[in-house]
């Protein structure tokens, strides 16, 4: 884990540089880690070129980078360039929303940069990895896209792979947030909606009921609602199991009936308590839901099948 900085930076050079020079080394390593390749004039330090203005008030570190694929092109003309000045503000305090939101706090980084190479190592690699995977990778992606180069990114993966990744999300909220990311992703989730929500049901219950279910999303959402409304949660769980997993019920029939009875009593009591409170509407809505599911097993009309989808 911690060897990332070692891969790109020579410890002796690190020791020889001042804090600004070391920061340059970190950034250089981040660019190389992201997949960039240095381009053009090589500064004597082999890292970043240091320039200061005439009055010596500003210090500027610079280096040119390019995508390796671009250097392999035979003809260099027609190359779209991304000119980016990556301004690193070393701030003393406060927060600000940068264009590229990487904030390095001078108070936090200067003591670390002053350390010897070995002592700065684990931290240095971490910063390098973060910068490399965020700002630098974003820039590389943009550069490649402008030049029509195939850079593998999440969106360029085949749909099956994207789905394989999305199936590993263990919370429905994460999947829903992915839908909000882009219309293309939303379409994909809608197309493969069955398998994605079925897997989420698995993550939730550690098994998937063996019965035929029309919409796994409905089932998942129903289980979410249970945890939203604690006063009737046990009640719904009973019915949910009845409609969803008969096999489960059969195996523990007697016990379940007993529990069911107790839970029902408990629910009635809480409902009575809650009468007139602002939660009442929620209770009523869930009751309605239970009635519809009760004794039906599968939902037949299309409108009720998509009931929870369109909320």
């Amino acid at each position: 884990m911690a060897s990332l900085l070692k891969k790109f930076v020579d410890p002796n050079q690190w020791e020889a540089e001042d804090i600004v020079g070391r920061l340059g080394m970190l950034l250089h390593a981040a660019f190389l880690f992201a997949g960039f390749q240095p381009y053009g004039a090589c500064p004597p330090s082999e890292h970043l070129l240091k320039q200061s203005d005439k009055a010596g008030r500003w210090l500027c570190l610079s280096r040119r980078y390019t995508a390796p694929e671009l250097t392999r092109r035979k003809r260099a003309d027609g190359v779209a360039l991304t000119y980016v000045a990556l301004l690193i503000f070393l701030i003393a305090n406060g927060d600000m929303e940068n264009i590229y939101n990487e904030i390095l706090d001078v108070a936090a980084i200067s003591p670390r940069l002053s350390r010897s190479f070995e002592a700065a190592e684990p931290w240095g690699s971490r910063v390098c990895r973060t910068l490399g995977n965020r700002v630098c990778w974003g820039l590389l992606d943009e550069l490649c896209r402008k030049n029509g180069l195939p850079l593998t990114s999440f969106m360029s993966l085949p749909d099956d792979l994207k789905i394989a990744i999305l199936k590993r999300l263990t919370d429905g909220k994460d999947l829903a947030r992915v839908e909000c990311v882009s219309a293309q992703l939303r379409l994909l989730v809608a197309e493969r909606h069955g398998e994605l929500w079925k897997t989420l049901c698995w993550w939730r219950w550690s098994h998937v009921p063996v019965v035929e279910v029309r919409s796994w999303k409905d089932m998942y959402m129903a289980s979410r609602r249970r945890s939203y409304v604690p006063s009737i949660s046990t009640h719904i769980r009973c019915w949910d199991l009845i409609s969803a997993s008969r096999s489960f019920l059969e195996s523990a029939k007697d016990q379940e009936q007993q529990q069911e009875h107790q839970k029902e009593q408990c629910t009635v009591a809480t409902r009575a308590e809650r009468k007139g409170s602002h939660r009442r509407q929620v209770v009523a809505r869930n009751d309605d839901y239970i009635k519809r599911r009760h004794g039906v097993g599968a939902i037949h009309s299309p409108s009720s099948r998509y009931r929870w989808n369109h909320r």
Binding site: F154, P158, L161, I165, D174, R177, C180
Partner: protein, 186 residues
């Protein structure tokens, strides 16, 4: 552990491979040669297993035109590390049904293996694993990418994966209302 050989050494590799066929030589899209144990390759990759069984392995380096040298280096590295690690009980049990976990959790060394990769290398590795039919490596890499999404807001996901927001303001508002439940903590 991975062997990245020059031309002169490749000659040597061939001689060794001829004498002792325990290894397979793979050639990346940019012509670099890598050597991997035949046993590990056949066990971890269905595609390579098929090639070995079908005799379509070239001793001068089997061409894998879809895979760049960096990704292939990682694949070979993974195979070697896998050969050295003792599989846990969870890995030995084979088939996945819906009443066992849909995916197997990565082991500690596998986590470390993917954690050190850059985004660029990680996505290339996912594609390579997919191309070579390496189910386990695919599991590990997909798991890592999904970890990068968990608990993040849509904006953060866009930033991490550099995805363009192609919604109009109105569309986005509508979807956010529809999926409002995903933005509250339980």
């Amino acid at each position: 552990m991975e062997v990245d050989k020059g031309k002169g050494e490749a000659e040597e590799t061939r001689k060794v491979a001829e004498a002792d066929r325990d290894t397979v030589t793979l050639k990346s899209s940019d012509g670099k040669l890598f050597e991997v144990s035949k046993e590990a390759a056949a066990r971890l990759s269905t595609v390579l297993a098929g090639m070995i069984a079908g005799g379509s392995i070239d001793d001068n380096g089997t061409d894998l035109k879809q895979i760049g040298s960096e990704a292939l280096e990682n694949v070979v590295d993974y195979c070697n590390k896998h050969a050295n690690s003792i599989p846990s009980a969870a890995l030995i049990s084979s088939s996945i049904s819906f009443n066992t976990a849909p995916f197997k959790e990565p082991e500690e060394w596998e986590r470390k293996f993917v954690d050190r990769l850059s985004h660029d290398a990680l996505f290339d590795l996912v594609e390579a694993a997919n191309f070579l039919g390496m189910e386990r490596l695919l599991d590990v890499t997909c798991h890592k990418i999904s970890e990068m999404m968990k608990g993040k807001s849509p904006d953060q996901i866009r930033e991490v994966f550099n995805i363009k927001n192609d919604y109009t303001k109105e569309e986005l508002e509508e979807i956010r209302q529809e999926l409002a439940w995903a933005f509250y903590d339980d």
